[in-house]
Symmetry: C2
Subunit: 191 residues, 2 copies
DNA sequence: GATAAATTAGGACAATTGTCCTAATTTATC
DNA sequence: GATAAATTAGGACAATTGTCCTAATTTATC
């Protein structure tokens, strides 16, 4: 049975997000899952191995979320707005713990951790998906710059939300993103 | 003599930035400063106390930097560009360790650390200073939103730089910030 | 230059860390 | 239902953590 393994990854995912990778101990995870501490090494060969499993889970879930947005929205414009709206949907957690992707990348960078590049790939999934949407909107060569721009924008808003805890600001920025999309000269079909 | 205390704070400042607060041990700092490990407690009553001293140092240096920008630039427009340019000036460190202010805020949030609010005040210094500059440019009620917007923008660019390590992107974004400032309808004197 | 105060070195401390090992228990296989 | 395999619990481990204490040393005071 791999149920235990999945429960470990699930708990580690939450704890790594809410308290950080380094600050989360096996004792913390064991207490949450309800298993013995020495039992981890039957499922993972090290804490780094567990981290890799958590990152893989996040990548998988990110792909699923992006697919879902694509499936439930015909208009690429609306799809991009789905992306912007996660700031509002997850506002409580973002204000408390920051963006899960950004904060993990930052922590692994400081630790010079081998999984650093893997974590950045989650950003890569968003970037590529957004580029695809902008291209569908007719942005052509501007698609990639626009994708990174809106990704950076959302990261900036997330950081301000963490620092100042201002929910109204998040709402206003999402509104600004919508206006920016509609009026952008490089996006012919929405202008 | 307080020289030792200052050297401790100095080393801690660098190490907290480059490897994180939690991941930096007294042993690490002691090795850098070249003193005994048990010697810290004559200068600081705890690691949290040392963190407070580091944050105070950063706030002091931020104030000094902002004063300097104000002194060496007549035009508030140029002053704001000084702010945007730190992304380029510190690009190597930002790509390696992220923004020192943002990453500290994020880490302390996750740790639910008492000094969390203190760290956010560094962002507050930038925000208030930027608001002051936008007001000087005639932005009136738009000054505060514009200040937080450009602060968020810089944070987003810093995070992308950390994740993707793309120096050209930083350069392009600073250029975009300049254009944005010049053409913004809420800033009469630059439009 | 003697005396008091400030500073430092070195080690002890209890707690915690990730890791590993072994014995017990559960589960799957025939 | 016996046997093998997979899983788990519990504890040992060496290393490291922040913290504290004491004795030695340096510095300041008169």
């Amino acid at each position: 049975m791999t149920a235990t393994r999945e429960r470990i990854v699930e708990s580690a995912d939450t704890l790594f997000y809410e308290t950080g990778f380094e600050a989360t101990s096996f004792a913390d995870i064991a207490a949450t899952v309800g298993i013995s501490r020495g039992n981890f090494y039957h499922h993972f060969k090290s804490k780094d191995d567990l981290l890799c499993a958590v990152i893989d889970l996040r990548k998988e879930r990110t792909r699923a979320m992006l697919d879902e947005w694509e499936k439930t929205n015909e208009d690429p414009f609306d799809r991009i707005l789905c992306f912007a709206n996660i700031l509002m949907t997850n506002r409580a957690k973002i204000m408390a713990f920051g963006c899960p992707v950004g904060t993990l990348c930052a922590e692994l960078s400081k630790l010079e951790h081998a999984a650093r590049a893997q974590a950045s790939e989650i950003f890569g999934l968003f970037r590529d998906w957004l580029e695809h949407q902008f291209r569908a909107l007719g942005a052509r060569d501007a698609a990639l710059p626009l994708a990174v721009r809106i990704l950076a924008w959302s990261q900036g808003v997330a950081m301000m939300a963490t620092a100042f805890g201002d929910e109204a600001f998040i709402r206003e920025e999402i509104s600004s993103i919508r206006t920016w999309l509609k009026e952008h000269p490089d996006i012919p079909s929405t202008a």
